[in-house]
Symmetry: C2
Subunit: 369 residues, 2 copies
């Protein structure tokens, strides 16, 4: 049987860019699918372990060539980096061709669809392998009608003060902790890395603009099946000069019952564009909370119920300070769910779920009596 996103063993391409902040897709695959990552390909750091480069990931080796990577018997080459704009660097063609020639599928999160590249498509066909473009959206999407606003499960969207600060990671950490506590939790993946990890989803930044909310609506409805809580992976921020449209469309398509605000304390201006946004100061958590709540309020009241910090670049003491400051500024529970116990976020979600269940029960009682 051919391999799928649920079974692939990956050789992960991160050539020249493997690092804590520069290889988002690779790093998340390592965090959430560690048993399926056989090696990372980055010739500039060959011989290292993933643990040494990222601070997690254990003994997974960083290799310098495809040939070395094949020793771990991968079934697919994962393109583990997603440069802004998402074009295919010409230097990668040789690597991709070699991987295809070696019988590997190619799984990519680039904006540029590798499957649409005539040269690569021809090579893949000849070799009998698949090219999977994680960002490629389904062809027929609806315009949102707001159907997600009153689904039965509790819906929680991760929002943020910026893009690329850990909205997917926060949702996945909360998901795993909720499952440990016995909750039935769905995860609606909205970006290439989330889709890679979960095995399904829609990259909402890649759909035609009119259908951003419609894609989110469809994802939420689908993630509801068999679940009591649905966590929706957030994207971007409401004030990012490049990506805010995706963020608002996702918010209005999801119409969440509650939000978790994600924040990277060390970030001072919007991410991306090689510093092109240094003219703009980022909002702090209190402003971001107000903005998110104000922008969903006209459609459905929804509150930020907790703050998830990304403190990867701080010391333990600094991280604890940042968490205390976020709690103080917002009046909400806060933690770094990767570094510390995600319990404060999980408790907030479960309390919200109980409140929603009570409201539904009261509503039923009211209409019945």
């Amino acid at each position: 049987m051919p391999h799928t996103l649920a079974t692939h063993r990956y050789l992960t391409l991160a050539e020249g860019l493997f690092g804590p902040l520069t290889s988002k897709t690779a790093n998340s695959a390592i965090r959430y699918l560690p048993e399926r990552i056989v090696a990372v390909l980055d010739s500039s750091q060959a011989g290292q372990t993933v643990q040494k480069v990222l601070g997690f990931g254990g003994a997974i080796p960083v290799v310098g060539t495809i040939e070395e990577g094949l020793r771990g018997a991968p079934t697919a080459l994962l393109v583990g980096i997603a440069p802004q704009g998402g074009q295919l660097p010409e230097a990668w063609r040789g690597v991709l061709a070699a991987a295809i020639a070696a019988g590997l599928d190619v799984v990519s999160g680039l904006h540029f669809y590798l499957g649409d590249d005539p040269e690569l498509a021809a090579l893949a066909e000849r070799a009998g392998v698949q090219i999977v473009d994680l960002r490629k959206p389904p062809s027929a999407l609806p315009v949102s009608h707001g159907l997600a606003r009153d689904v039965e499960p509790l819906t929680v969207l991760t929002v943020g003060t910026d893009c690329n600060i850990g909205k997917m990671t926060a949702a996945l950490q909360v998901r795993d902790a909720l499952r440990t506590r016995g909750a039935r939790v769905g995860f609606a993946a909205t970006g290439q890395t989330g889709i890679l990890i979960e095995g399904w989803g829609i990259a909402v930044d890649s759909v035609v603009a009119d259908f951003i909310s419609g894609a989110a609506e469809r994802l939420v409805l689908q993630a509801c099946h068999g679940n009591d809580i649905v966590l929706v992976e957030g994207q971007g921020s409401l004030v990012h000069p490049g990506y805010s449209g995706v963020t608002l469309g996702l918010l209005h398509g999801t119409l969440p019952d509650a939000m978790i605000l994600c924040h990277l304390p060390s970030r001072t201006f919007p991410y991306g564009g090689n510093g092109a946004y240094s003219w703009m100061p980022l909002p702090g958590p209190p402003d971001a909370v107000r903005l998110c709540e104000a922008m969903v309020e006209p459609l459905k009241p929804s509150r930020v119920i907790a703050v998830s910090l990304n403190t990867w670049d701080l010391t333990d003491a600094q991280a604890r300070d940042a968490i205390a400051r976020a709690e103080d500024e917002t009046g909400l529970p806060a933690t770094d769910p990767v570094r510390f116990d995600p319990a404060p976020l999980v408790d907030a979600v479960l309390a919200e779920q109980a409140r929603k269940a009570e409201r539904r029960e009261a509503g039923r009682g009211g209409s019945g009596g």
Copy 2:
């Protein structure tokens, strides 16, 4: 020489849907390119004049067949309606084929690209005619870097309390009046109808979601050339459940110096989806002003400077009442620039232009002395 968007004479297809609110593209073409509309095709109203159906447009005939329409010697069939979702109604294939066979180009604002339809593309190639899809965006768009925030001309974006209430029309009425007063005015078209009228532009609702702001940025920079004022056609609304992402991306790509709020007093819930949004009350002008200003503030302070009302369905007395109420509620000048003199909007724009010129002059003086 082949005809272009700047020279075509149109037979306008509005089959079964020709009316004040149901054939937006057709109606705007009639308003702004009346000398180039030879007839409207709607067999359900054949024999009428456009004036009788719309209340403007004079003696342009409504015809029931392609053959009748050809009597006016059109050079293109204009698809004059744009249903939500934008699929090609199967019933139109015969009409399109007949138009192509008669040697007409086809100009379409549908989401579905007629040029990508194998059957129509083959017919067009055989007949030696062009299919122009107005919504089809350029293939390579940038992610916005916020470059539009400090261009030399005054930039004004039309925003609104809902979609489909006259944001393009308001901008065009102001443009025409400003030109009458001698201003050099650029118009950045962001939708299929604006592109049809202006001859260039990008349908921002049709670009890949990550590039909404980038498309707007590119349009603004291009419209600046040789102009002192740039009017940007707005789209949707910040609280439309289906389209808000497009609206925010456009706002953050444009980063306008000022905004004109468009409002249809008779509208009570968001447009579209066959009433699917009746669960949501529309914000009034004061709330919409606050929301628009709050959402651009973190990137660049910008104010709503006037309110443009669409009173097509009110009596004169009701229209004057609505204008007085909007002025009273918002403290801003207001008018219906189609029904009445657009001067209040034009004066507000020119005053803002003078203020921007003063600020720039003061900035230069400060840095020099």
